[in-house]
Symmetry: C2
């Protein structure tokens, strides 16, 4: 079985490394010749090219580009694909991608391997990146069942825990646990940045510790990623943000009213609720 | 020099361990005989008692109880204190403590060693807990200068980095970097808990990863601690929360209006601003 990888970055390169070590023939496409050369030199792929025609022999193609490039890449890829080829992606938002790409190529299976490191690019690709991590597969009623099973089989070969749900369910769930945290965390830093007294700002910067560090971490991350999730998962993110804002208002109301019993009750529920997450 | 420690928990016990190893005579008071016995058995103190009269020989007394117990303890302590004794505390909010305790004992120096572990109690006391950590000392215009210098000298002996500021400056700074993060983080978990669809909740709990884990950590902590900081630092916390809510509204406004340029600008500023914190 031939596996195609379009986009030889951290995710594409890591999928390629793992599957090559399991005996698959891997062909890769990158927009940059230098990346193709490095992918071959590192043994990530059997062959690589800047031309999508290399995908003609692929039975299964992973699109591993940023979200905004997925649909245009698939459009350019279609003339080169074998009629039975399965196409899948690794994008972190699913509804708009699945809608757009399924219309172009019905044999498309939306996917989201939830793994990563702070690094990016082909040099960051590593083996076993997906071991024990969730891999969400998001078929629709029209997605060919055999293709869904094939993508899930490959995900399990990567050592991932496979979850199957609809694209909208995925987007709603990741709005809560991935996209809302980015916005709540960024807002923390943005708010601190509005303190007008320079002495207080300096003191706060010096006294900041693990609590601030952890709570502000994802908000201080890649701005392009934050914009991309907001753009592609706008509806679900706004819904989560709006519920977050209501919860914030209630908590502020308790503090304003000095209702310490109500506040304690909320913080107890929070402590209990957090224990149900797979952290 | 005799050092008194009232409250033999993580902080009091750790101060005692470090200072005893530097040759000070350490006397400790706990409300529980069992804690006194353990403190002596572990070599944390030279002597310990459930009676505040043990503090009669102390030149410097650290009050290491929860915030709400500081003022009542000092009231009971005063009949036993030597006239020249310096009293200091380790409470995480300073204005109400400094106001109340200075009125009872003018030779009081507010302090806040910013260190801790997830553990508590005398068994959790460890050496070098304060090495490289901030130790804020919060005198007022009326605090005797020699006493401030003495407390700072001891803080430096613990290996801490000493910061001196007024009680209100301290409380405003920690509202930003310590108390607001607790509330923003707790609100994240509280909001997720309002998702009405059980399938989405289950999926979110399974997919939650390091981003959710870090952003929700301090919000899922000790509810009593959260209530205590809200109660004692209410005014500064409400001010920070109100600025946080304004920042949240602006960020939501950008997403609502699909103003991706404005959102990217905000997230870029956030990324840059975070780099100025001592994390």
């Amino acid at each position: 079985m031939n596996i195609g990888i379009v986009g030889l970055g951290l995710i594409g390169g890591s999928i390629a490394l793992d599957l090559r070590s399991r005996g698959f023939n891997i062909v890769g496409v990158s927009s940059r010749q230098q990346t193709c050369d490095r992918a071959i030199a590192r043994g990530v792929v059997n062959d690589a090219s800047i031309h999508l025609s290399l995908m003609a022999t692929a039975d299964l193609v992973f699109i591993c580009t940023p979200l905004s490039a997925i649909e245009p890449i698939v459009q350019k890829l279609i003339p080169h694909l074998s009629p039975d080829a399965i196409v899948t992606d690794v994008g972190s938002v699913k509804t708009p991608i699945v809608d757009a790409v399924s219309a172009l190529w019905p044999n498309f299976v939306g996917g989201h391997p939830m793994a990563g490191t702070a690094e990016s690019g082909i040099e960051a690709a590593v083996r076993d990146l997906f071991v024990g991590r969730p891999y969400v597969v998001t078929p629709t009623a029209q997605t060919p069942a055999q293709s869904v099973e094939k993508v899930e089989e490959i995900a399990r070969l990567l050592g991932a825990s496979v979850y199957r749900c609809g694209p909208q369910e995925h987007d709603r769930a990741v709005a809560w646990i991935s996209h809302l945290p980015i916005m709540a965390s960024a807002t923390l830093v943005a708010a601190c940045d509005r303190e007008g007294d320079r002495d207080i700002v300096n003191l706060a910067q010096n006294l900041a510790s693990s609590g601030f560090r952890d709570t502000s971490r994802v908000g201080g991350g890649n701005p392009e990623l934050g914009v991309m999730v907001a753009k592609y998962n706008r509806e679900q993110l706004l819904r989560s943000l709006s519920i977050y804002r209501d919860s914030l208002d209630e908590l502020m109301g308790d503090i304003q009213a000095e209702d310490w019993q109500a506040l304690e009750q909320k913080l107890k529920l929070t402590q209990q609720a957090r224990e149900h997450y797979n952290l």
